[in-house]
Symmetry: D2
Subunit: 355 residues, 4 copies
């Protein structure tokens, strides 16, 4: 048995983001879970909340203020909603513990950018720890691997954002499209909304329901536009419409752009291959190949298909991920591997289940 | 009891399009079902195939060639796939029976237009009865009510087409958008693919699957573009991407267009009200109101919401229908009412069920 | 247009039991809705809460204490949870308004029987109006049609109870089985739990979940046993295990009993025909015919199949209903029709939709 | 990297039973896949049929008659329907390759027992290789671990059978119940019916459908009764009713029996602990703890809860498994581990995913 010499803590362990991470950590070859922390269900074994974990992880849920949590962790995950990490991250960083946060708290490296985002989620107050922002890194390994490796504080991307940025990065970087007119129509499964029951996610209400929501006003727009601007070198405004469909897991983002003249499928394919050819978690598909959310369900992959409409010369990129894996816990684990200097794919090389 | 003095036949009675029509005809105040016809399940009572009909409609399925079907019907429905109606409609028309066809066979009034459509569905042969095409009418009542009233041969719209055309007609007619750049991202439930089992609609394969299909190549594009051209007076090419999501019923079409300068929500709302204000089956919603496929499930309604993205000045129209009702049998019944000169809403004024 | 001369009120109009009733009342030929009442969403149009009702019923939700509700109703429905009707029914009865209550408040005609039931639902307090109990009637038309016709206060059966009692009544009445050993394994869709979101009915948690609950302790046991005792003339204890499966609507109850010697399928069929042959909402099926929850979805029917295991001489009766129709609002409307002396099937003769 | 020194072949690799096995083999520490074989899709990479496998297993599907399949495998899996293994197993056994078969072909060790089973599945012909039957072993490790370890030919249990036998074995072995009156009400997800699309598993037809099927006539009855007889030493006839509910994965079996006098929950719990206390894939639950199919989804576990109805003295055992893992591929892999003399849990110790 390999010695599991990296020790991590999980804050917000009882939500979907927490349990997804625990599932991955259980089989990680070199990491052990030091403590599970949350605000509710204190002292309850996690396997009582999530019975499938029984025998794999029976740790109790601890209050983050519990002295048992004060031990030395190499890294803690904030699998928490907006607003938690920004108030507590510094304490961990000060004692030498690296931090990965799931929320928007550390996706922006200056307080002005954060403020636009915060306004969208109805939290217009200032960031609780703005001085820490410049040291934070946006945790999308395919675009920021080196910065992540050198960072102690990583903001894990939003699930929609991960699928959209990965879907379009190569053509933006190589300027093969008109970046002034990008339309993204995204569809997500319900688990993206988390564990808390709400009327519109009640089973009978959702079983036959598909709808758009936050039309023109979703908060992930800001991190997408920021990454697009970094790739193209100029400001970009996108049109982004998220939908909820009755899947448990999965995001499918359909991205419509105007191809620049004389750019064909071959050049497109080259662009994606040059950027993603060695990426362990990206798979490319061509026009005519159907890709589905089931192809990535339960795994850390992002599958991308490239399509050109010969009648309108639109480039239509389709990108699918599992919102809870590449869109959340899996990508966070990938960041952890990079930050800890171990094999980037450790604990992540499984294909998921079908059906 | 009102005398049911209109007598209809249903060809293709055993498919989803047929059963949806039977459900509606059962409670129609002035129509009786004269005969159910299909190629398979001959002589089997329809209520053995669809047990929920037991006691409501126990008619046997007849071969269309059966002498019992030769009786005088006021109207027959071809609830059949492409290629059937074009070979058989004339026989019924010749004996004075009106015809409504569900397929693409009579959605185009000249053989050249039909040929483009036919090529897309992999049936590149010529129309079997091209001389009949000029007398056919496109059966979308909200746009062609008068022609339908005077027609004996109506081509019922495709389900995607109905949702898209209704969604955008007012702004096209009043030229409030740039009609050269229209993107439609449509999501359909599985019943749109009909009753025949296929691998990608097998329950375990579909339960957690969402995917685009026929990217850039769906056949409904042609009738949408034809109707758009009729509204604007100029040729239009649209970008249309259909998706399948794990709903049984429902289509949600999200339509992205560029608003012309100075057109605001109020003017938009006026445009839709002027065209749809008296329509019995259209309900309008404004930016900020969520509309869902469940709002129209089981009913003949098309709900439409109007949204403007203030950052990109895009108009985003969302249109939802039940693909089997307004997208198929309900719209066909509405056409029948118009063609027979009875109350247009007869048999159609129910809200569906929730949840 | 027929004059709608019966005027009803609906208390608890905003729950699933309320909306199901409104859907039926909209198309009832001789009933109009006088007022919708609830505790929450006061003054909101019901069609804002349930958008599919827009244009069909846009009445506002009123506080039951609102003077506008004091008008003369012929009948009020308490589509409310346990405990509401027992405190408020008398007020309506006193002014000559008939009452139908969905909960367990009036399913028992003496306070001792009610107490056993109440203990099971965790409300061990005494009935709030015990003197009214002897005048209440158990509202299962197939067994108590005459009493219902003469009653002003009807307790609508529990959804599980309706399916089980209808499933077994004929063989109990004719004493064709050993009534001392009856096992019922029942499976319900999620809408049976009502509109309020809960963790175990959250879409992601329920999408792939089937489980038993309240094993040996479900409250419907008491009304089932009471009805069984009325049929056989002796006390009976049943074993009843409810399950939740990921359906929106539907109950399938599988009932296992020991047939008395020499009772064959023919005699069984005769027993069911003699009791149900003229029932408008019961359909019988024989061994080998598959019945499914979809056969009754959206309709007021109870389908029953009779099966004998030749190896073990067990009688296996399978009974399916829509829990929200025959198990709730539809059965309540049937009771209303009977109590008001109009055609029992009025407003209920539709087959539902498939798929 | 550990050397993967066990080499296996998979026949029937393209079905759900095959892909489930491939998913497990990919991460098995000491097994490599030598060849994938099937009748259809010859030469197609398995990852084209199941895109989630891309990059993990891209082997082509071979015809079993292909010379490339003639290599030396330590073991082959027949993930095939009834009738295949019995005609082909001998060829593999003769060359020293061990065999595990998923179907009923090797679940019975004499041709008379097999004949009863075969009649039920509509294949009344004789077993193709009856002489081989006495050397076959029933592959339920919890009951037959030693025989499996010494066997070269193992018949993997039916999915329903595995859940039922595991659920009741301890009380049968210790004779704590009346074995003459056992009723099993089982509910399965749709994947149990395999990959081939059929009308009743078409998504729209199944989405809201729950039904019993093969009432009194399911073929798994025989292996259940045989195992029960081995445990009790006397013949037993059970009543078994399978149902299909709209899950993709999962079986929940609810077993009703009569407890012998003076047997309480404590003694029951002892019985289960004495038999299962050291079993790696069985988890026990007591009255009051809810167990669900989601607790075992994607894992090799069987969760069992013990309940006594104090009113009727029935023992109600509830048993849940993933029909594709403990009910099929996972159990087969467990058998392989035992037959090859390696750690029994190798490749199987993961908890699955939630939600």
């Amino acid at each position: 048995m390999v010695k599991k010499d990296i020790r991590v803590g999980v804050i917000g362990a009882t939500g979907y983001g927490g349990v997804g991470l625990i599932e991955l950590l259980i089989n990680h070859p070199s990491v052990s879970i030091g403590a599970l922390m949350a605000k509710h269900d204190i002292n309850k074994p996690i396997s009582e909340i999530y019975p499938h974990l029984k025998g794999f992880c029976d740790l109790p849920v601890l209050d983050p203020a519990d002295p048992d949590c004060a031990g030395v962790f190499d890294l803690v995950f904030f699998a928490t909603p907006d607003g938690v990490g920004q108030r507590e991250a510094r304490r961990w960083l000060n004692q030498g513990t690296k931090v990965i946060d799931y929320s928007g708290d550390f996706r922006f490296s200056d307080k002005e950018s954060y403020a636009s985002y915060a306004a969208r989620i109805g939290k217009p107050e200032d960031h609780a720890d703005p001085d820490i922002l410049p040291s934070s890194t946006y945790g999308l390994p395919e675009l920021h691997r080196k910065e992540i490796a050198n960072s102690n504080l990583v903001g894990n991307p939003g699930c929609f954002a991960a699928s959209c940025i990965l879907g379009l990065a190569p053509v933006l970087k190589l300027r093969l499209i008109d970046s002034d007119d990008i339309i993204i129509d995204a569809k997500s499964g319900v688990s993206g909304a988390g564990k808390t029951p709400k009327p519109s996610f009640h089973f009978p209400a959702r079983h036959e329901a598909a709808n758009a929501y936050k039309v023109t006003g979703h908060q992930h727009v800001y991190e997408i536009e920021r990454e697009f601007a970094l790739l193209t070198g100029k400001d970009t405004k996108i049109t982004f419409t998220p939908h909820v469909v009755p899947l448990t897991r999965g995001i499918i983002s359909t991205i419509y752009t105007n191809l620049l003249p004389q750019v064909g499928l071959e050049r497109l394919r080259d662009a994606y291959m040059s950027m993603y050819g060695k990426e362990p978690f990206i798979r490319l598909y061509s026009h005519g190949e159907t890709i589905s959310t089931t192809d990535v369900r339960g795994s850390n992959f992002c599958n991308i298909s490239l399509n050109i409409d010969p009648r309108t010369e639109k480039l239509i990129v389709i990108s699918v991920i599992d919102n809870l894996v590449k869109g959340q816990a899996g990508n966070a684990l990938q960041n952890m591997n990079i930050m800890m200097g171990i094999e980037e794919t450790a604990g992540l090389m499984h294909p998921g289940n079908f059906p």
